[in-house]
């Protein structure tokens, strides 16, 4: 099923970190309230019309459930949508969005008792910020420790908000800043200089060891940082099922070594079967869109999972597959935005 788009109204816009990021508050039409109940860590699959061209992006909701529906978008160099949001989007504008999506989620519970470690870098703070707030307000017996990497103190998103949380919950929340190129000309002194690496992770856990022994580890940053953080945790014998991560603001592991081949695909969408030609350099999603089909998709980088489908016959190569777990891959699920054909006949079913 193709998920519906709803028209959301921009009700407030705020510059973050001197204009390098923008927070946008969106108002949901009353008839869509139910669909827009989100969980901390989820994102909005958005559709923008910019200069007559459609662009799709996923942006994380940077507030916990119950607060304003807010996204926070970091400017990327040459990025069409992020610069549009920063420079041209205005209060009163309409933005189209499907309902919140994503399974990098923290479900708080009033009687859950956990120690949460959050490892973030750059704009990867956005889902973590929502999760931290959810823990502090809705999981009163749990604690949260944030280890947050940035370039300099000027690029720390939600700096003041995080400080305010640390002041409000001194016994349940700590934040540690790590700066890779700290400025000499500031009073702000970070916890450490450098990166969120194995040494920093070990030091943070040593300084604030788990209180509650149900420990969860949440990682969100660029792909490389995620990989390194997960590897560091695994090296300390953290069980993999306690580690949750989402790739953000940079490529994860992308494998472009395999070239696709031209193929004929039978694609079932909304119970209709279509025959689609997939060119060697096309992804299954690109071929489907070019053939006039309208399957769900959003981030087009293998992160959000919107474009998931099931491969019933044939073989594909996925350049990235962060949104799938091993079980789903074993069941034959694929991310169509990342799949190129490896056999000349494919049978694919969208859910």
């Amino acid at each position: 099923m193709t998920a519906a788009f709803f028209k959301l109204t921009v009700s407030d816009i705020r510059e973050e970190i001197g204009g390098d990021a923008t927070s946008v508050i969106l108002t949901v039409p009353e008839e869509a309230y139910d669909q827009f109940q989100w969980q901390a860590g989820q994102h909005l699959p958005l559709r923008f019309m910019i200069d007559g061209q459609e662009h799709r992006r996923c942006y994380t909701i940077s507030n916990p459930p119950g607060e304003n529906l807010r996204i926070t978008v970091k400017r990327t160099k040459g990025g069409v949508v992020s610069n549009y949001v920063a420079d041209r989007l205005a209060v009163g504008d309409i933005v189209e969005s499907q309902r919140p999506h994503g399974r990098f989620v923290l479900e708080p519970g009033p009687l859950k008792r956990r120690t949460h470690y959050f490892f973030g870098a750059g704009s990867g703070i956005t889902p973590l910020y929502a999760m931290i707030n959810a823990v502090l307000t809705d999981e009163p017996y749990s604690v949260a420790y944030l280890i947050y990497g940035n370039k300099s103190h000027k690029s720390i998103i939600f700096h003041e908000e995080l400080d305010a949380l640390a002041a409000e919950y001194p016994e349940r929340f700590t934040v540690r800043h790590i700066l890779s190129s700290p400025s000499m000309w500031t009073w702000f002194s970070p916890w450490r200089s450098g990166r969120v690496d194995a040494e920093a992770i070990e030091a943070a856990i040593d300084e604030t060891p788990p209180v509650a022994q149900n420990v969860q580890y949440w990682i969100c940053g660029p792909g490389e940082m995620n990989k390194a953080t997960r590897a560091a945790l695994l090296a300390m014998d953290v069980p993999d099922n306690r580690i949750h991560l989402e790739s953000f603001g940079g490529a994860g592991a992308i494998d472009t070594t395999v070239k696709g081949i031209a193929a004929t695909a039978s694609i079932t969408l909304d119970r209709q079967e279509h025959t689609v030609q997939v060119a060697a350099d096309q992804t299954v999603l690109e071929a489907a869109l070019a053939a006039g089909l309208r399957p769900d998709y959003s981030c087009q980088s293998g992160v959000c999972g919107s474009c998931k489908a099931r491969l019933k016959k044939g073989k594909v190569h996925m350049r990235a597959q962060m949104a799938l777990d091993d079980e789903e891959i074993a069941r034959g699920e694929i991310l169509t935005c990342q799949s190129v054909a490896e056999s000349d006949a494919l049978t694919i079913e969208y859910p």
Binding site: L111, R113, P210, A212, Q213, N214, M236, D237, P239
Partner: protein, 386 residues
């Protein structure tokens, strides 16, 4: 006819059958006190604890998270580790050297090819996981790998346990003791929560607190109790405290809860004490005491001792004196409230076997006793049903 002791039959305090049922339905199915968080201070350290029918060990991983497992080798059931110790990466059973990593995975079987020609599927013989968590600086274990959280278990009673932060206090090592009382564990609990006896058995030992103003009640099976300092003591409280404060002013009084089952805490302005009750037999109970005091210099302790000397120099005394005492070891002449309690418990236990025993009316201040008996009945019934 079954003879009753309030809500329980007398045999609940004397019979092996009742003891076995309590072991099975109460002590093997609840969070059990296992020690203080500092007992497992570093990765690789471990301790084991008997929790009802289960022996459970706690080990800290390199990620500083505690893991708990049933202390049973998956080969022939031998207890894997001894009471306390340290290991680098692995736990080896002494019997045939089967070895497990700190996640409980079986990683090595000696002479595997020769002794097990069909192989051993190591994946199927990991240690059975249990649960561990920390609450107010105390370690608790539960035999179930997925039990109700400690927040579910202690959350409702927590606000009544006082403003103490035991994890910030330091243990006073000389205070740690373990001794046995020749009485059923419930007799010991009932003595602990009997408000009526405080002004009588302890008339000369605990009168720095005002028993008449005690506030007490229940949250589920957990009992909570608080009483303010008595007027004489409160008049110059800051100087009268025998040790430096462990809680911020103006909090004052004594918090003496009894968490279920048999986890007693006695906390006041200047100390935090544990009184852990473990049944050993129908008529034998072990008590473990541990105490924590303020984490301040010896000089602060010295100053407080001087300032409080005036109050304590004439304080306390024996309940019985002169001809009323048996000899110099008479607990009733000791002036020590613990000795008084132990004596009362053991004397009561002896009478439970008499055919002439008939229990009299229950006082208002003894309502915690009947409540505790009911809590036991309710808990066992619920466990039997589940």
């Amino acid at each position: 006819m079954t003879r009753m002791y309030h809500r329980l039959p007398v045999e609940a305090y004397t019979s092996k059958d009742w003891f076995d049922e309590e072991q099975r339905l109460i002590f093997s199915r609840t969070w059990r006190f296992a020690g203080l968080a500092e007992d497992v201070p570093e990765p690789g350290h471990y301790i084991s604890v008997q929790a009802g029918l289960n022996n459970i060990f706690i080990v800290m991983g390199r990620d500083r998270r505690l893991r708990a497992f049933h202390n049973i080798c998956r080969h022939r059931g031998t207890q894997l580790i001894r009471a306390v110790g340290k290991t680098q990466k692995a736990l080896t059973c002494p019997y045939h050297d089967w070895t497990y990593d700190l996640e409980g995975n079986l990683i090595s079987v000696p002479d595997e090819a020769r002794e097990f020609p069909n192989g051993v599927d190591k994946k199927c013989f990991g240690l059975k996981p249990a649960s561990v968590d920390i609450w107010r600086g105390m370690l608790f274990v539960h035999p179930d790998p997925d039990p109700p959280s400690l927040a579910e278990w202690f959350g409702a009673v927590d606000p009544y346990l006082g403003p103490h932060k035991p994890e910030e206090l330091v243990e006073y090592p000389d205070s740690a003791s373990s001794y046995e009382i020749r009485a059923n564990w419930k007799i010991v609990v009932e003595n602990y929560i009997d408000v009526y006896h405080l002004s009588h058995l302890h008339s000369n030992t605990l009168y720095m607190y005002d028993h008449a103003k005690a506030e007490y009640g229940w949250e589920g099976p957990h009992y909570h109790f608080w009483e303010p300092p008595a007027p004489d003591y409160a008049e110059d409280l800051e100087n009268n405290l025998p040790f430096p404060r462990v809680i911020p002013k103006p909090h004052s009084g004594a918090w003496v809860p009894m968490l279920f089952p048999g986890i007693g805490i006695g906390a006041s302005e200047e100390s935090w004490n544990l009184f852990i009750i473990t049944p050993l037999a129908p008529d034998l109970t072990r008590i473990q005491n541990r105490s924590k005091l303020a984490n301040v210099s010896g000089w602060e302790f010295q100053k407080q001792q001087w300032s409080s000397w005036g109050f304590w120099k004439g304080f306390g005394g024996p309940k019985y004196e002169g001809d009323d005492t048996i000899d110099e070891n008479d607990p009733m002449a000791s002036g020590d409230f613990t000795a008084e309690d132990v004596y009362a418990c053991e004397q009561q236990q002896k009478s439970l076997y008499s055919p002439y025993l008939e229990i009299g009316p229950s006082a208002v201040g003894e309502s915690p006793i009947t409540n505790h008996q009911q809590a036991i009945l309710d808990f066992m019934k619920a466990q039997e049903a589940s």
